[in-house]
Symmetry: C2
Subunit: 452 residues, 2 copies
């Protein structure tokens, strides 16, 4: 016997009169809909929406001042012109933008060139899959790798919600590798992998951001990157390296990505143009150069196999979006590191200003009375502020309503419990004046809440 | 004990010298990668790719001659101008195109207007979710609805591979409702739903295309549409109605969609702009107006709940792609039926021409000798040709190589066995001359193969 999924008659929302319409019982829907984390994401946006005048440190949106419509037209024209210059007949030029396209994408060459220039990642186009933003790359990679309920994903915790959310959609079990005060420790990855395997399960891959992680802002030192590759080898893990913020550090302080150090193809690299170009293109990619051996002994790069998964998610990445990103890459000489230096300096300036304002409002010598401390990332979009009280959605509501400042509660990002009294500050979309005024307001909120 | 997922050392593909690189064993990857159907899709494309000079009836690509780059620029400008005209401040206009956007989409109003005008589907923007093509809408709807291994999806068989493929990615069991010679019979849906429930499982939803189905070309008569809604009610099913081709019938012969007849919100409607605008936008949508009742008694349209799933697949649909489609909708006065009439006439003309050429090469009076017959759809992109021999990928290879004509083997579209001797012809992307010459070549291939 099964219970009915739907109820009839019911009253549809927003309508006064009952009708014969069915209604769906939320408890019968997939946890991807009903999970509390999904709901707190919604509540976070809704709170931001209800207080549009609050200065918002809640998001990881890129800075908007440099967006210009004429750029879109020019990038598109550039992409088209380059195809024509290569002698492609006009119907094939049109096809690249307008028609269904190859599932793997039409700008893989350009991305491969960019990766070689900017990241010393040397790969071939057939190891690249272009996706609708990095989120789709995460989902597709997870889907390809995880088969049975015994296949476990390790993630750093706190973690970008897109990873735990995608795992939730695919019913993939997740084991947290808790970050330490200094960030992720590779020995902790080894310990969790060992524990998982001892329990008769399979630790398949570990998700990590080496540069300026969301949400914590932490980066891995070079020694930890190398050690993580050894751990992957020792425990037969793949590393899912996500790198949306890597270009936004101080000039001259760049560390190699884990993928750039990866001699044994242990790393699947997840890339995004949301922060280096603009989010509204929704173009990302993955690099998966692992040979997949079929029953007949033939081998193809994992990216080509993952294209089959991608084809069942979105068929292929929008030609028009790829064209715009392709045009931008061409215009930048296939180096986003050079093209985004001005933006990187702006973000580093915002980071320094945020840190300076925090130090001004919460002087270290008064720590005993205010109990507020924060970490000091070396780049990226985020930093963490520890408060002497619990921060949750109601606290955010008070902060936005009474003090005109919004932020994200860190507890949302933990796999399991954690971060109950920690705030994530994202400063990337604000002006310098907003950063100053916002930290001033935040200090007022923290002082008011500490008294309570 | 678990066996290793990776093998080291191995030899990466395309490299002569062995290295320490790991390789992945295909048998350890998800069926979304390893399923034979996924592979035959790839083989189909590869065969088409190897014989670029073959006239291809293999795809469902829209006609390309009307694609024009200046349209893209103009649609984008129109979308931007309309936002400005509504008094939106410039930073919010930019945000709509460049920035992360609302997960549900920014062109829901425009889609709601279009649905009212073109399809007599009267809904509100909050029941609409804009997606990266209809494929994402299918995946997101399935994910939200299907929870346990006992939740069964019913699909018409033969079926669009995007549906069975998405179900495969999500490990959703599928039960076929075999089409009859005249198409889908609602009583067959009832019988399969009954059988599934008798086995202690839950028939959650049935996927169906009422107008010019892919792959069969069949349409449902009005009586069957009404009866299907009754069956849904009697067996507590939702209907997933996919409608990519609905506008491409003969002028004046339009039937109401199932959604337009749906008084009790039994239908989730799946829409696409791939054929009415262009595939390279990858913009589609779903209409899910079912109220979802939460534990606290509050209710919101299912589309808003599904937005949480969508946020973990692609975050939101590309602003630039939505802008282009939004501009096109505005320019068309929110009626694609009117705007695509010229295109619809062209497709109907192609259909008629294909049928005429088939009748010419395989006259009915000679049926006893040639054994070739076909169905007669009333619109859309596809029709079926039954041959007196087995058609598979090797047969396609012979057809493309020796006779210069490609097509799709119908067996790829069956849930289970079926269609072994049937060819799908898609005529939408060809010129009239190519249709004539292509059917001529097809006749040669069929005659040559029949002798064998």
């Amino acid at each position: 016997m099964t219970s009915p999924r739907t109820t009839a008659p019911g009253t549809p929302p927003g309508q006064g009169t009952p009708s014969l319409a069915v209604s769906l019982d939320a408890t019968h829907l997939h946890p991807g809909v009903t999970d509390p984390v999904m709901d707190s994401m919604r509540l976070l946006s809704e709170t931001a929406f209800r207080y549009p005048d609050a200065i918002s440190f809640a998001s990881g949106r890129p800075y908007e001042e440099f967006f210009a419509f004429e750029d879109l037209h020019r990038y598109l024209d550039r992409f088209v012109a380059d195809l024509r210059d290569r002698g492609l007949p006009e119907e094939r030029v049109k096809r690249a933008v307008f028609q269904y396209g190859p599932t793997n994408g039409v700008i893989r060459d350009a991305v491969a060139r960019m990766l070689a220039t900017d990241e010393s990642i040397h790969t071939t186009p057939d190891s690249i899959l272009i996706t609708h933003g990095c989120q789709e790359a995460i989902l597709v990679a997870l889907r390809g790798l995880f088969v049975s309920p015994d296949d476990v994903l390790l993630t750093v915790s706190p973690c970008y919600v897109g990873v735990t959310g995608a795992a939730k959609l695919l019913d993939i079990p997740v084991e947290a590798v808790p970050e330490r005060a200094y960030g992720l420790d590779p020995e902790d990855v080894a310990a969790v992998a060992h524990r998982v395997r001892s329990a008769g399960k399979r630790p398949v891959a570990c998700y990590v951001t080496a540069d300026f992680a969301n949400p914590s802002g932490h980066s891995l030192p070079l020694s930890a990157r190398r050690r993580l590759l050894e751990v992957a080898e020792e425990h037969d893990l793949l590393i899912l390296e996500d790198n949306p913020y890597g270009l936004f550090g101080r000039a001259g302080e760049q560390l190699p990505t884990i993928k750039a150090l990866d001699d044994s193809r242990r790393v699947i690299y997840l890339g995004s143009f949301a922060k280096t170009a603009f989010p509204g293109a929704r173009v990302g990619y993955l690099v998966a150069d692992q040979p997949v051996v079929s029953a007949d002994g033939s081998a193809r790069p994992f990216a080509e196999e993952l294209a089959k998964v991608k084809s069942m998610v979105t068929v292929n990445t929008a030609g028009i979006a790829q064209a715009v990103i392709g045009g931008l890459l061409a215009e930048s000489g296939y180096s986003l590191r050079a093209a985004t230096r001005r933006l990187a300096d702006l973000y580093v300036g915002h980071l320094d200003l945020t840190l300076a304002c925090l130090a001004e409002h919460f002087p270290p010598e008064d720590f005993a009375t205010h109990g507020v401390r924060w970490n000091v990332p070396t780049g990226g979009f985020f930093l963490l502020v520890e408060t002497p009280f619990d921060v949750d959605i109601p606290a955010l509501e008070r902060s936005a309503r009474d003090h005109g400042v919004a932020w994200a509660p860190m507890r949302m990002f933990y796999v399991g419990e954690g971060g109950a009294n920690v705030i994530r500050l994202g400063f990337s979309s604000l002006t310098r004046d907003e950063v100053r005024e916002g930290i001033h307001r935040l200090a007022e909120f923290i002082r008011a809440s500490s008294k309570g």
